[in-house]
């Protein structure tokens, strides 16, 4: 008999579908960090990211019986979250132009001027990300911020590698204007 911590994803999915609601907690624990990190990178706000992750997990629970590859339920949940994040960004683009993100400046011992300068750099980068389409932002974040290989991203997002590369290339082209100060 397996202890809860040893259950595979497929076993957890089976248990949840057979009525063990609390087993779903294991999936929340296993994939909460991954989903939240992606949501935060996509939308840039901790509260929005938490709401999106919660919605993704609840949707995943309600549709769990439609998950065909139960051993890869983590990737399936990630896809639900990724789609939610893109929907969120689309609605945000329609409804408001983002102000500068609030930036928590880490205590590095820099003086206030250096800290402000670093905060401004961070703001500029995040504003540039806000100008990408949700699809370009997703591809760029997964490739260059998460550092995942194209093949892995393509498999999770159910895209061809060629289509994915095109999105990353377009994102980089759109960000080219930032390059001057890094030469």
């Amino acid at each position: 008999m397996h202890r809860p911590a040893e259950r595979t994803d497929a076993q957890v999915v089976r248990d949840v579908l057979e009525g063990d609601r609390d087993a779903y907690r294991l999936l929340v624990r296993r994939y909460g960090d991954l989903l939240y990190a992606h949501a935060l990178r996509m939308v840039g706000d901790a509260d929005d990211a938490a709401d999106l992750v919660q919605e993704a997990f609840v949707t995943g629970y309600m549709k769990l019986h439609t998950c065909r590859d139960r051993d890869r339920v983590g990737a399936w949940l990630f896809r639900i979250l990724a789609n939610r994040c893109k929907d969120f960004l689309r609605s945000r683009r329609r409804s408001w132009v983002p102000f500068d993100h609030a930036v928590a400046v880490p205590a590095t011992g820099d003086g206030p001027e250096e800290a402000a300068a670093r905060a401004e750099v961070g703001n500029r980068l995040r504003r540039a990300l806000d100008r990408l389409t949700p699809e370009q932002r997703e591809a760029f974040v997964l490739k260059h911020v998460d550092g995942r290989p194209y093949e892995e991203i393509a498999a999770v997002m159910d895209l061809s590698v060629a289509a994915l590369k095109m999105r990353v290339h377009r994102a980089r082209d759109a960000l080219q204007g930032l390059l001057e100060e890094y030469r």
Binding site: R29, H38, V58, T59, V168, R183
Partner: protein
């Protein structure tokens, strides 16, 4: 962007394979991408997130109830029966078969006959309208009401209804044939009080904004409530 530089940034060519000018450009890109990695950090989820998810799930119906019912039906189940009970059952069957007319298929019980229209308008529910289609496909034994669901969702690629009457499966698609963003569809629903939501693009669950009643499912999310009256005889 130069193709060689693009391939380098894609991880296909090492920096040493670039000429001096491109190598300088590649280094600038690498500094910029490093900066993105620092500034666009992921962070850890708040500690209350797990509890919030589980509390919301507690208020929801179990996933795939229909799926579980089918699984139960196809799974073998041991049946324990005493010899006395089995003998009495066989005797009762023999008596039924020997009666005049025994063994014939009984007439269906219910208010709707095949081919008849069993639909009616649902009153007081959230959907914008409810009516019976011509030639409604009613089952012979279970009265159903055809309820028309309407959702304004401009820009959606697909809209479906999911509720307790579909096992919370988004299996009832709505249609927007004229592309005006108003999605409609008729769904057969048994009389009673039902909860439902709309599912946009296969993953975004939204509450019917025009429902007359709602039920809270915890932490601000609501299911729309639909009351369907039984069809008149």
């Amino acid at each position: 962007m130069n193709d060689e530089l693009r391939r380098h940034l894609d991880g296909e060519i090492p920096r040493s394979g670039l000429d001096a000018e491109l190598r300088s450009e590649a280094e600038a890109w690498e500094r910029l991408l490093d900066r993105f990695r620092v500034e666009v950090s992921g962070g850890s989820p708040p500690p209350w997130l797990e509890q919030r998810v589980m509390a919301e799930i507690e208020a929801l119906p179990a996933p795939g109830r229909l799926h579980r019912a089918v699984a139960w039906l196809v799974r073998p189940h041991p049946v324990r029966i005493s010899p006395l009970t089995a003998g009495l059952a066989v005797a009762a069957l023999v008596v039924v078969l020997l009666l005049p007319g025994g063994g014939r298929t009984p007439a269906p019980i219910g208010s709707a006959a095949p081919g008849q229209d069993s639909g009616q308008a649902a009153r007081g529910g959230g959907p914008a309208a409810a009516s019976a289609p011509n030639g409604a496909r009613a089952t012979p034994t279970v009265p159903v009401v055809y309820v028309q669901f309407v959702l304004e969702a401009p820009g959606a690629r697909s809209v479906a209804v999911a509720g307790d009457f579909t096992g919370w499966d988004a299996s009832q698609p709505l249609e927007d044939p004229d592309g005006d963003g108003v999605w409609t569809g008729r769904v057969a629903v048994r009389p009673g009080v039902h909860s439902y939501m709309f599912v946009i693009d296969g993953s975004k669950w939204v509450t019917d904004p025009h429902a007359k009643r709602y039920t809270a499912d915890g932490f601000g999310n609501r299911n729309a409530v639909l009351a369907v009256a039984a069809p008149s005889a």
